[in-house]
Symmetry: C2
Subunit: 312 residues, 2 copies
Amino acid sequence: MIALHGGAGALSSQTMSAEKERDYRQALDAITRSGQTILADGGNALDAVTQAVRLLEECPLFNAGIGAVFTHQGAHELDASVMDGRSRSAGAVCGVRHIRNPILAARAVMEHSPHVMFTGEGAEQFAFRQGLARVENDFFSTPERYQQLQRALAADGGALLDHDGAAADPIDPDRKFGTVGAVACDSQGNLAAATSTGGMTNKQAGRVGDSPIIGAGCYADNATVAVSCTGTGEVFIRTAAAHEVAALVAYAGLSLEQAAARVVFEQILPLGGSGGLIAVDAAGHVALPFNSEGMYRAVGYVGQAPDVGIYR
Amino acid sequence: MIALHGGAGALSSQTMSAEKERDYRQALDAITRSGQTILADGGNALDAVTQAVRLLEECPLFNAGIGAVFTHQGAHELDASVMDGRSRSAGAVCGVRHIRNPILAARAVMEHSPHVMFTGEGAEQFAFRQGLARVENDFFSTPERYQQLQRALAADGGALLDHDGAAADPIDPDRKFGTVGAVACDSQGNLAAATSTGGMTNKQAGRVGDSPIIGAGCYADNATVAVSCTGTGEVFIRTAAAHEVAALVAYAGLSLEQAAARVVFEQILPLGGSGGLIAVDAAGHVALPFNSEGMYRAVGYVGQAPDVGIYR
């Protein structure tokens, strides 16, 4: 099975047009089916999550790859990570501007370097040596995201947005666009997780959230769980959220569902964090808790139609 | 009490001159005493670890700040992080080249931004706006580190050094220079951790290890432990090593010593990782396990002479 998310935040049926909702549901459905096809054909979890996140990056509806939000300085800085539960191998890139698919760069770091993480121009040089596609920074721009930046700049005079209470922030309902991610369990019981993001609208240049941080926004270990997170990245880093789910399953005797809920509601929320996560274990259990108003999400078991959700 | 480390690796009394050993012991002793003085005067754990790591950065013997190793491209790229166990607030910078004391930048991120992590030029811009000292990149250079780079380049024709089996690597005994860090417990039972590094000699530009990763190279929570790590950064990231120590204490019922040893010997080592960590809890227990031949380390209880060690 495969599960994916497309960000969490102030999503409600009151504020979203029927047309927009249909677009999101169709995209989530199609991308889930793509992952299901890989798994049905005997593909492994790592390939399924890589493909799902690559497609989420290519879809302008989500804040990753094309459709990434703008920094305060008017550019796009992208972060991504991937982890293979078989070996606990991992790869990540942060602060990249010219790599078309950051998730493919993260995977190349994992598979073709002795390292786990590269930042900035060094990450780009590595990716291009690996033959990944180079694009101009404005390749990621969309008119909607540009308008969001203008609203954010107008609302706060150019300063940073308040990072607390994102879900309730009246000045930027667009803060709902967080991150994308996927987790999967293949027919061999192997787990994998992948996460990618454009960060926060109007973020300061250089800010890194939880998405490229192994243990925070992404974690996978066949012995426990695969997890991908979305939300107030700072709090997910401070709680090592993805690894904490694994630790609660491994050492505290919690079920996957209990562990995922405890992190989202009892650890993220008290520290002022908003968002959610998706998690699977090797038995194919899945949990998709979120403490915000909504989270774009989908679950697809092989041979079944995807189950797509947005609101609570 | 305060504990600190100055890196782990192929350290043995056979390969180190008596003069060099005396220099290291004197530096570790003096820096530990500086941290003890802060704690004895009623200062908090956060101030003690910040000061200790700042002094380790200023000391050319250690691979952080002045005395940082060279990248393959012949520059210095520095990473640092800090975490306050009272609030689990955290700050980190990675890939910075012109900030004299990366640990002070990490602390400024924690205290003067809503964020946890900044990378590259964005991190530098933030730090300079906070009034931190700017230096040229060669401020960090020392003749010894330059010779190490030349030996590494000559030995491997310019390719990356093998990152496995660092302790036994015959071509670069200088790999012993890893990272610096400090953990402390103050009179209120508050915990804090800080870590700083110049990375690996001959590393590719942009490579980030565990030092600036909250949960991997640095973690602090008053409820469990404060941890700072040194060694094969990639493996410490993949195991979320610092947070794993906390999880084993919180959920698996292990003592601080048991948890720290389990991570270093049963999790880091099987994945090919070399190195160690320092950990304290709110009761003032301390553990300093390492699986390499040696680790520069010191422990100082307030009112007692520092206990300095290098070899097993």
